[in-house]
Symmetry: C2
């Protein structure tokens, strides 16, 4: 199966602690690399984990709190020093483009590649990126400032022909194409070709949902339903439920409940508060509600649908 | 002797490489902590080396290239999360204050402590900070954009009375004070007190000079003369002399020559280009010109005058 995986680069909330770093994840979807959030030090994390940052195709920034983007200016200028010439797409809330312009003006530097800025807009789930193999959607979260979640979706691929079925038959190119697209064909000359007979079933297209910095939001359930992998922030544990609410964050238990309601396959919890040195109890709390939960440990890679 | 030391937090030039991080140093002068430059990840380096960032009294930013300040927004917001209420002095070139204001506006955050911004101005050596025990001066360097060096100077302290000399004598408080200040006293009643007899000689006040991102600049010699410790950038080696000149940087050999001309006691070279994995040859080059040279290795502490 084509690669679709998520590498955790940062797992801390606003105040880095215990060797944890602020939010960042690298998505590899069919060998296309996408960065989600870019906390301070992300470029060093990428180097540490042996990722080639020049291969990043697009960056998605969920919101403009520093722990989600203070590493972006450094990453963008390092890409320039590495000789990037191809354009880079950056999807982010309003305000980051002029800020980056000002940073470049102050340093009297100019990038040798083009940043294609895409301003995220509020109001429901929106398709923000699409190519041959995938689509990315943004959707609103409920945080202190405008914040977006992201959903990375594989497109259904073409079905694979069964060699033993087509061997020795004179089947036209047009018919083969239809069968691969999942269409039955009745040829004028007589024979009927059922795609289910002549092609192999495809694995279902996979989905990864990223929900960072949000109150538990009932409206999310329909958006992230049946995702193969869900990242949902869990800054706090239930004992700090009130603090979570005041700061527009979620608890591990609430993240687990969200995963259960949306019937996702696996949950990753992250964005850990600096008050927790050890994370075992936080994980136990999520698992009590949703057993297939894991911690967003830095350097850990999660296969989507794996 | 009271503490006066420099801890290297970052040693790389613009592109971090081989586990090296961009420029930052922590100066401890008589238990007052000062941060010089603040490359991306500085707050993590401080934590790694066990430094209490809430104890930092002032920050000095040499210039507005990202590898010297991209860690500052994160540091300033983390200090806020740590509950700082006392003011923080930030000395920097023009432009950083409005940039930081915009970053706070985008995050809809407000600091609970006051940043006292001090804009550095060009035109020779200027005293920018002074208290009971020390003075800090800024001076211009020769880089692609406006860049400043800094000199941290201990003030001569009060001389220490020799207990065996004053024991059993009726010497007035005023006379003791003058002796401690290095003044001889002839009392009306007859006795003459020589400060050299009644007090111990003081160690000479120590000086640390920080010269980051600059061409070798002859005018520096008079400013940094006889510094106990000099940090001078050496982004390149002599084999890349032309590149150094084009990028407004220095070679290790040039840094050594500067240390020799200025008759400093010890030289630290740093701001290493990402083209050098190993630094032995770079150090050898500096030492060939100025034997008492050391590499700015991260985590290494240098005693000023030690």
């Amino acid at each position: 199966m084509a690669r679709f995986e998520v590498l955790i680069l940062g797992s801390s909330s606003a105040l880095p602690a215990y060797g944890r770093h602020p939010s960042a994840q690298l998505v590899n979807l069919h060998e296309n690399l996408f960065l989600i959030d870019c906390g301070e030090g992300t470029q060093s994390r990428l180097a540490e984990f042996g990722c080639k940052m020049h291969r990043i195709r697009a960056v998605f920034i969920s919101h403009l709190h520093g722990d989600h983007y203070f590493g972006l200016p450094g990453l963008l200028t390092s890409l320039n020093l590495l000789g990037r010439t191809g354009p880079l797409d950056v999807f982010c809330p309003e305000g980051l483009e002029p800020l980056m312009d000002e940073i470049l003006r102050l340093g009297q530097g100019e990038l040798q590649y083009k940043i294609q800025w895409h301003t995220l807009v509020a109001g429901g789930k929106k398709k923000i990126f699409e190519d041959r193999v995938m689509e990315v959607f943004s959707f609103p979260l409920a945080h202190r400032i405008t914040t977006f979640g992201f959903m990375f979706c594989e497109k259904p691929g073409m079905r694979k022909l069964r060699p033993e079925k087509i061997a020795g038959r004179a089947i036209s190119y047009e018919t083969l194409k239809k069968l691969k697209a999942g269409i039955d064909v009745v040829e004028e000359s007589g024979p009927t070709y059922l795609f289910s007979e002549f092609t192999e079933d495809l694995p279902s297209p996979r989905k990864y949902a990223y929900c960072s910095d949000t109150l538990p939001l009932h409206g999310l359930v329909s958006i992230i339903r049946e995702a193969d992998l869900l990242y949902h922030e869990s800054t706090y544990m239930e004992e700090h439920l009130e603090k979570a609410g005041l700061n527009y964050h979620s608890t591990a238990s609430q993240a687990g409940a969200m995963a259960a309601s949306a019937k996702v396959k696996k949950l990753i919890v992250g964005h850990f508060s600096s008050r927790y040195k050890l994370l075992d109890e936080l994980l136990a709390e999520a698992r009590a509600v949703f057993p297939n939960s894991e911690l967003a440990l830095e350097g850990k890679k999660f296969e989507v649908g794996g």
